[in-house]
Symmetry: C2
Subunit: 232 residues, 2 copies
DNA sequence: ATAGCTTTAATTGTTGACAATTTATGCCTG
DNA sequence: CAGGCATAAATTGTCAACAATTAAAGCTAT
């Protein structure tokens, strides 16, 4: 089992510096993991008790979760776990298409050769994983995010990186959990990843951006279809 | 003096529902306006006293300002007003180019006819303003943001709209204040706005996106040059 | 005189109590 | 019996005191 989750940098830091920060991570994990179901009412006193802290830091955690759009909050009324409807998912995928397309363009210009090599090796690992596990969904997905994360990081654009990694990828994880498994797409995705990596290696900015955008909008079309089929 | 600031939706709500929210708006205005200079150390007790509230809501305001990147905060050490260096500005303009390009594409697809007409009338007002005031900088700038805001809104993409309006436009305002005036560009910008509006009216998604991206990357080139000339 | 350690002050993180607002309950009236 | 007003409960917003951590000042030793 290859250790491809190393560069993720999201679920680390459980031993963080502050109570609010740790609680933020915990709740985030609970929401993404599904322990806290979508639409659940968040009651500050209850959660404070549950996580064994006082309401102060908990409020801070909630506010940060609101910024990430994992929680919606109406003043004086309370907050609930976000419920992802089709429209919101579409908005997220479109924003991601735009930002990651630009990231791929920048990566083609700026990614150093050794990182490009490492990216290629990562895709080799993915191919091996697909062969072995017949597309065991979980690792595929984390591997997919790992690929996208590396390109975002290679853009050397702090704003884009933070918003992809801190916000959009979390929501994408939730979208995927909601729309269930689609292991058939594993090989297709890998092929597209290879093409994108090749464009970056060739320093073809234009193509890298186009391929990335096509890759993501394609992913959205799949998710969209699944959601439509379900609601009939 | 035409009232073109109506659709802005940013500096409104001084009579908001909660203390933290009002304070957030006040501090934000003070930072953008320059009363709180870049790099200023933020001391919670001092600010709480200055704004006449307790540290609780003030902390919430600070955290929100941190999310918007108007304040940088290191745990246990304190927070300062952000200092915009050239790299950060570039990151912001690039992110904006990506997102607004996509917004323009979506607007070309989705903007209703009456909004397109209103957009055109807005540009007429801008032209009149340029003629009358010989490019009085302030109104030009707010007018410019007004134009861009309408397109972002027309994208009907909540994520993009919130992040442009809530985060990037504020930072752009700071960038502009820092790089000083350049009234010569007023007519150029207006021409480009006209072309973008025309592409949207023609429902030409591809062209609308390309023109918007060119418009913004051009704006960055100007700002960049000013910053370089200054530091020599 | 300076480098490094110790002690002190300033600032942030956390807590529990209090005030304001909203939502739910129940009573009264038409 | 239904609708609306008044009251009560629950929940969020705000405050001021306390604990923990970091930055600064002062001191000693080389």
């Amino acid at each position: 089992m290859p250790e491809t989750v190393s560069t993720l940098g999201a679920d680390d830091a459980l031993e963080s510096t502050t109570l609010a920060s740790r609680t933020f991570d915990s709740i985030k994990a609970d929401i993404i993991g599904g322990e806290l179901e979508q639409g659940t009412k968040i009651v500050e006193s209850d959660l404070a008790l549950k996580y064994g802290i006082s309401r102060g830091p908990l409020r801070e955690a909630i506010h940060r979760l609101e910024q990430i759009k994992l929680i919606v909050r109406v003043p004086h009324a309370g907050s609930r776990v976000v419920t992802l409807d089709s429209k919101m998912m579409q908005d997220i995928y479109i924003a991601r298409e735009s930002l990651e397309g630009m990231a791929a363009r920048l990566a083609a210009r700026l990614m150093p050769e050794d990182e490009i090599r490492a990216l290629s090796e990562l895709l080799d690992q993915h191919e091996a994983t697909i062969g072995k596990t017949d597309g065991k969904a979980y690792f595929q997905r984390e591997g997919d995010i790992d690929f996208h994360y590396r390109i975002a990081a290679a853009s050397r654009n702090q704003w884009i990186l933070e918003h992809l990694n801190g916000e959009l990828y979390q929501l994408i994880r939730m979208c995927r959990r909601q729309s269930g498994q689609f292991p058939a797409r594993a090989q297709t995705a890998l092929d597209q990843h290879r093409q994108i990596a090749a464009a970056i290696a060739r320093r073809d900015q234009e193509l890298a951006e186009i391929l990335m955008r096509r890759h993501i909008s394609g992913a959205w079309e799949i998710v969209k279809k699944i959601l439509e089929d379900r609601h009939d």
